[in-house]
Amino acid sequence: MKRAIIIGVSVLCLFAETNRDAYRTAYREWREADPNLERDSGAGGSDFASRVNAVASRAAKYGIERGSFIRKMQADLEHNLGWLESPVRELQEPTRGVRENVASETAVVRRNLETFSNDPDPGIQQLRAALDRESQTLASLANAVAERQSAADAAKSAAAAAEQARLKAGAEEREAIGALQAAAEQAGRESANWAEYYRKLAEAARGEAAPVPATTTAVPSSPAGGISPPAMAPASVPPAPKVITPLPLSRYTGAWTFPDGGLSHGPQPQFLDLVVHEENGHASGTLFARFKVPAGSKDDPVLRFDFTGEFRNSRNQVFALETSDGAKGTIELIPGPAFNLLEVNFLTDAKPGKIRQGNVVLVKK
């Protein structure tokens, strides 16, 4: 059991490592991808939109990596300081009868000593000597009891002071966690704004006025940073499609794939393809994937399921799925920070030896 706990903790630890490399690399790749983008945006050109897309996807990757780094830092802090939640134990020491016993025995000995104080009988003198020795041991004992009581009181005070210090450290820990939470939210806002910026940059360089998104419901696709959605569609733009989702349907529909070195939580895909169709507000699609399983594992690495459902007026779309083995479950489509990214969560009923859940970020084909 002990061994299992230690091994488990060690494995957890490997995943708990906080490393800045991923987001720093993503940042460098983003910044080095096309340093002249803004300078060239005045000229525009036919390939400019694809240049913007390339930079936008790197910016999005940086946003995802940085967000996950901060969340991991937060989780590590919560985990590593979790012990602060345990209060300092106050000792309950039984002292019943100790002082009383010493006091009553001392009183008995004193009475006897007084009784025999002037008795010249040699036998009584012997008894007096014994009583004297007993009296001395009782006096030493009373001192020792008092000293230990004093030590016990000091230990209680120390425990109370430690508890106060623990409460204070716990409060500071929560503050630090709150700051990390705010940093994670800030990173999300920045990421959403970068996606918006590159979209507008591409549109502007194409000579278009900022176009209206493909769908326009009452819920605007304003990111958390408060960037307003584009104002007007030019006359040349085709009529906006039907109103279903707060984001353009193209943020969900189409063919998506798991890129090399892509982000995933849970089982890691070797490949993963997703196709999403929409017809009259009705969604249907298929996910087909092969996951990496540990060597020697008898688990089935292949997962295939179809899903259907209705698009709803919400950012995240959830549909019912059924795997090729008949397991039921749900799939959630979450538009990513860039228009060509889609996060997917799926969960199915448990079936022995089958992949039943996953979380991946896909790019549009």
């Binding site: 060690s10 120390a158 700051a179 800030q186 920045e190 507008k200």
Partner: protein, 243 residues
Amino acid sequence: MSASGDIDARARCMLTLLFVSSIALAQQQPDSLTALQQAAEQRTSEWDGLARTLEGKIARMLPCDARVRTTIEEVNRASDARLAALGKYLQAAASEASAASQLAARTLAEQEGLARELELERAEADQQRIAVDAQLSELAESLKRRGQLAEAQKTLAAIAELVRERVAGAQQQAAKRAALVTALRELTGAYQAREKSLQTESAALAIEASRWGDYYAARIARAHTECSITNQGPSRPLQRKKQ
């Protein structure tokens, strides 16, 4: 961060968590500490019951009645059992306090390292602010040729503001982390003081146990004297245990 830095970080993390897990295993004993406390309570109760009635029982016996000695020895044994149970309880509590103290010290060392690393956050945010300002500047030039870039420029300006907020946020984060480190330092000191106070109490208990032994030996010696001066039969003085 270099590859060796990764390994170091991983090793540090593993060591810490292994340590935490060992503490957790040690502290898996809230029940055992409670059991030790209950045992001490029980032994104290047993001793108290016997000690209270000792003089009353002996008073009804003749000086050389063999039961005088056995009655005192019975109380002495109960006293030893009480003190031993209390000693175990205190030792377990001291050992738990020591583990907590070490954990606090280790956590403090880690957090001090991380607090220094948080300086990087501010530096990175500042670096990004400079990069965004450069983008803004180039976009402003392009805007002169292409008016449609105005919306993009507004968004980029908003991003620049967010990045400036991040610089300030990083400073706040560093301040909060510094406050956490200070609190952990105080906590470590408090845990160490508690550990020391429990050790002091354990030492005081050992002295008290020795004094109780002295007392019961003296009490048996008196009983022996009471018997010998009445010539009613032999009685051996108690061979004192070495404490």
